[in-house]
Point group: none
Chain length 249, copies 2
């Protein structure tokens, strides 16, 4: 990996997460900690980030601080993303839906990963495009402006032609009785096609989505190959799902 690429990657990470640890960077990029430190120092001299003990901070971080729904939920999605990433290995074909949890997954992909990612979500695709080593395949069709995702029969047909190794789906609502449910008809059609096409179906869900129901059904619990949450696997909330035969991570 070239020095400039590395620095661009670091900068990208800093701007996304507002912070970065040199230790985690050095394991992601696979270079010595010294190199990372020198990079951070250089970038700091150029004023592109703020170096601190143990890592670096985004410049914008300073004034903005914590207005949003917060680090809490963000960290949860980080945890989920990290669990999901372990399932991806080089050479895989990965199909993903849209949504903030998938975004977090896209942001956290290790830079040396070489795989092919397929999606119809514009924000997610943008994230994939920043990654140095992954191939990106965009599913085309009419764009639904509110969900920023391509929807329609062409998109569904295209998905059905594929046989991705694994499929990651964000979750809107998950319930022991009603399974996975959602509130956008067109998105549901897409998700159904994705589930059907994929060898392995993984749902990503933050805990607050568990035990809630939405009007339109996506699939049953049996169709889930793996459910990833930020919770520990022996958390009591998950117990009924495990008993119902759902694999949980």
């Amino acid at each position: 990996m070239l020095k400039k690429e590395r620095q661009a990657y670091i900068l990208h990470q800093v701007n996304l997460h507002n912070r970065v640890l040199s230790s985690s960077l050095c394991s992601e990029i696979n270079v010595s900690e010294d190199t990372i430190r020198r990079d951070l120092q250089e970038l700091a001299e150029e004023g592109k980030l703020i170096k601190v003990h143990g890592g670096a901070l985004s410049h914008s971080f300073n004034q903005v601080s914590f207005p949003n729904e917060g680090v809490y939920s963000q960290n949860n999605k980080q945890v989920i993303a990290n669990k999901a990433i372990e399932l991806i290995s080089n050479g895989m074909f990965v199909l993903t839906s849209g949504g903030t949890t998938i975004m977090e997954l896209a942001r956290s992909l290790p830079p040396q990963l070489k795989a092919t990612f397929i999606s119809g979500s514009i924000p997610v695709i943008l994230e994939y495009m920043h990654h140095p080593n992954i191939e990106v395949i965009l599913i085309g069709d009419k764009i639904s402006k509110n969900s920023k995702i391509t929807v329609g029969s062409d998109a569904i047909a295209k998905i059905k032609q594929m046989k991705p190794d694994i499929c990651f789906l964000g979750t809107n609502a998950l319930d022991i009785e009603h399974g996975i449910t959602d509130n956008d008809w067109e998105v549901v059609q897409l998700k159904k096609a994705m589930i059907e096409a994929s060898k392995k179906v993984v749902f990503l869900s933050i805990a607050e989505k568990i035990n809630s129901v939405q009007p339109i059904k996506v699939c049953d619990l049996e169709d889930i190959d793996l459910l990833i949450t930020e919770l520990d696997t022996n958390n009591p909330i998950l117990k009924p799902y495990i008993q119902a035969g759902v694999n949980v991570a």
Copy 2:
């Protein structure tokens, strides 16, 4: 292998992968590392790539780095965009390529316009999405990271299924003898398909692109239904083109 061929190959590789190592190039092309270095240096001086220690990077890699083409060229593009907009009316199906001139067109669309826009360029699509009244259709396929556009046989097949009312294409190089030329093979394939599919083909070109040639041919002058530049139609630069039968606006 000739020098020009070699440099074209290098450029192609850089545009394809966003990065290139001089070591891998020299084993691919089978010339000494010095020659590669000299080529890279030359291309860097022409501003066609960014040279770094160990290889080179695509220009689009740092989206930050376009310190050139200032307000002047921007205003020119505004003029072009305004001329182009007059050709669009409500209910039309409009097919567009990517590029900065098309971006300017996308940004300048009047908010009350109700039409359907089709493109495979991610930045352009993002612009369309912000528009309140237009429908957006995204052409899917593998994303070429450097041109930020979907390329491949699927995209071409999809374009060929369409019959848009009008098609706006950015121009890389225009010459009285060689017609429209470009430097990215995959993009050229797309443009050819777009030209074939559309009822009316409009090329947008800033004056500095006129009378220049690139290695790969897109189409002849006869295939152009209308050429839009920022120049006045009786500007002497345009005269030979008008005499050759090109419609100019």
